[in-house]
């Protein structure tokens, strides 16, 4: 049973400027995949939804964007918190969702279960927001593609073992595919579908 204060509190104190700051960090991180962005103004969503993940929800979700939540998040106060602060509807259908949220350590299903967009409208795809243990210290992967000058090493810790296979499959269906925001605490790392990843 969630408490009222968990649901009604924890949003941005200055919604206009904080949403702008969070968006700019996301935009810069999507434009330069692999760089780690720090959200200076984190939200405090109800656990297990992380700070940065909550800030992404407050910044980008509204009544136009159905949201899918992992089983643990669905059982927490997160659905009511998201509904109250953003007006976004929570959906059970993965491929209808525009955003999907995962708490730390959650099982990530195959990316192809989410909305991948169509060949005509590849933008109509789901953005996955996945919280992990840390954005550094994991298995190093080299990223190449638009926005990356000479290759960048990323090493998020706590992604599922099959992540690289899932991502390679996602890259192969370009221009369709999901986009990924990896969060940890109040930091984010963005991987647009164009980024190619391989083991070092």
């Amino acid at each position: 049973m969630s408490t009222q204060s968990q649901i009604y509190g924890g949003a941005f104190a200055e919604p206009v400027f904080e949403a702008q700051a969070v968006f700019r960090t996301l935009m810069d991180c999507f434009a330069r995949p692999g760089t780690i962005g720090r959200l200076s103004t984190a939200a405090s969503p109800p656990p297990p939804l992380g700070e940065a993940s909550g800030a992404v929800a407050l910044t980008l979700c509204d009544h136009d964007t159905p949201v899918w939540l992992s089983p643990a998040l669905s059982k927490s106060a997160a659905p009511k918190w998201i509904a109250f602060h953003t007006g976004a509807a929570v959906t059970d259908t993965k491929n209808e969702a525009r955003f999907a949220f995962f708490e730390k350590g959650a099982a990530v299903p195959g990316f192809d279960q989410f909305g991948l967009g169509s060949q005509e409208y590849p933008d109509r795809s789901t953005t996955l927001v996945v919280e992990v243990e840390a954005l550094e210290g994991g298995q190093p992967l080299i990223g190449r593609g638009p926005g990356i000058k000479n290759g960048i090493v990323i090493a998020p810790k706590g992604l599922p073992d099959v992540f690289l296979d899932l991502w390679t499959a996602n890259r192969a269906i370009f221009p369709r595919g999901i986009d990924l925001v990896v969060t940890s605490g109040e930091t984010v790392l963005c991987l647009p579908r164009t980024t190619k990843l391989e083991r070092e």
């Binding site: 935009m27 980008l60 005509e120 638009p146 370009f174 579908r193």
Partner: protein, 297 residues
């Protein structure tokens, strides 16, 4: 500052900004693909940069420094009024110096000075669809992009060669982004196309009337379409800027009188002023400079 209370920061309401921000993120994720968005009416007519203004309003923050140019110039009507608009509705710092700006909204030029990592270039786009004049139906052009079917564009360029002996397209010259989408770089002169390739700055394109947003992330391959035997080349000018003496820049022709007098000057006014401030002088800059030029002849 008192005028500010009547508007949300940067004019647009928050829901509109969110919608545009989502479109921008998807546009960055699919370089060169045109993302449809619910373009709003702005307090200026279509064709005056409503798309660029909406993109700028959605990314702009209080710490940004904004520069607005129209055909390279900071002091033309469109640039002045859009700059004044954002000063009024967002109280944002403005500049004419390319190097100082964090966001540069542009109509039909890319600044001569190389843009850096922290900068975002926002283009005002009238017709985002490069295939539109070849195929009027949106359903068809969308399918052509989906199937990567760009033969028609090459036919158009070939017809240029057949009629004129060379590719006669001089502006809105089609480019291929990251080897996938053919994109209209907005009606910039083809002189500017090479600057888009592997640019360090993020480039965002907004078309208000046509309701499309697209993007080129930094360090992205942007190749102008051409043929092996007719490679892409940019315009060349046979003289330097008459005011600052700059070569290898894009020049505007200015008619001086009704007797055929004319001069060619930098289209990028900031670049020209900066060079003059650093002591560079062109043939027509000042009487003294002109006399010495004539004496030399």
């Amino acid at each position: 500052m008192n005028d500010l209370a009547n508007y949300n920061f940067a004019y647009l309401d928050e829901q509109t900004k969110r919608m545009i921000r989502r479109a921008i993120l998807k546009a960055i994720a699919i370089p060169g693909y045109q993302v449809p968005f619910a373009s709003r009416e702005m307090p200026m007519p279509y064709g005056w940069g409503t798309g660029g203004v909406q993109v700028t309003a959605s990314i702009l923050g209080p710490s940004d420094v904004l520069k607005v140019i129209d055909q390279g110039a900071d002091d033309t009507t469109n640039a002045v009024s859009i700059r004044a608009f954002f000063q009024k509705v967002a109280n944002v710092a403005v500049t004419t110096r390319t190097a100082d700006a964090t966001i540069i909204q542009t109509r039909h030029r890319i600044p001569e000075e190389k843009l850096g990592e922290g900068q975002t270039l926002v283009y005002q786009v009238p017709i985002p669809e490069p295939l539109r004049f070849l195929e009027p139906r949106e359903t068809e052009t969308r399918k052509m992009h989906a199937l990567e079917e760009y033969g028609l564009m090459h036919v158009k360029l070939y017809e240029d060669i057949a009629r004129n002996g060379h590719i006669a397209t001089t502006y809105a010259y089609p480019v291929k982004v990251e080897g996938r989408y053919v994109m209209d770089p907005s009606p910039t002169p083809k002189f500017d196309n090479p600057k888009m390739h592997m640019s360090e700055a993020l480039q965002l394109f907004g078309a208000g009337r046509e309701k499309r947003i697209y993007a080129v992330p930094p360090y992205t391959e942007v190749v102008s379409l051409d043929f092996e035997d007719h490679p892409f080349e940019v315009q060349k000018f046979d003289r330097p800027c008459a005011l600052c003496g700059a070569e290898n820049v894009y020049l505007d022709e200015v008619v001086l009188d009704d007797k055929g007098g004319r001069m060619f000057v930098c289209s990028d006014t900031d670049h020209c002023e900066d060079r003059r401030a650093h002591g560079h002088a062109g043939a027509m800059l000042a009487p003294a400079a002109k006399e010495s030029q004539e004496a030399a002849e």
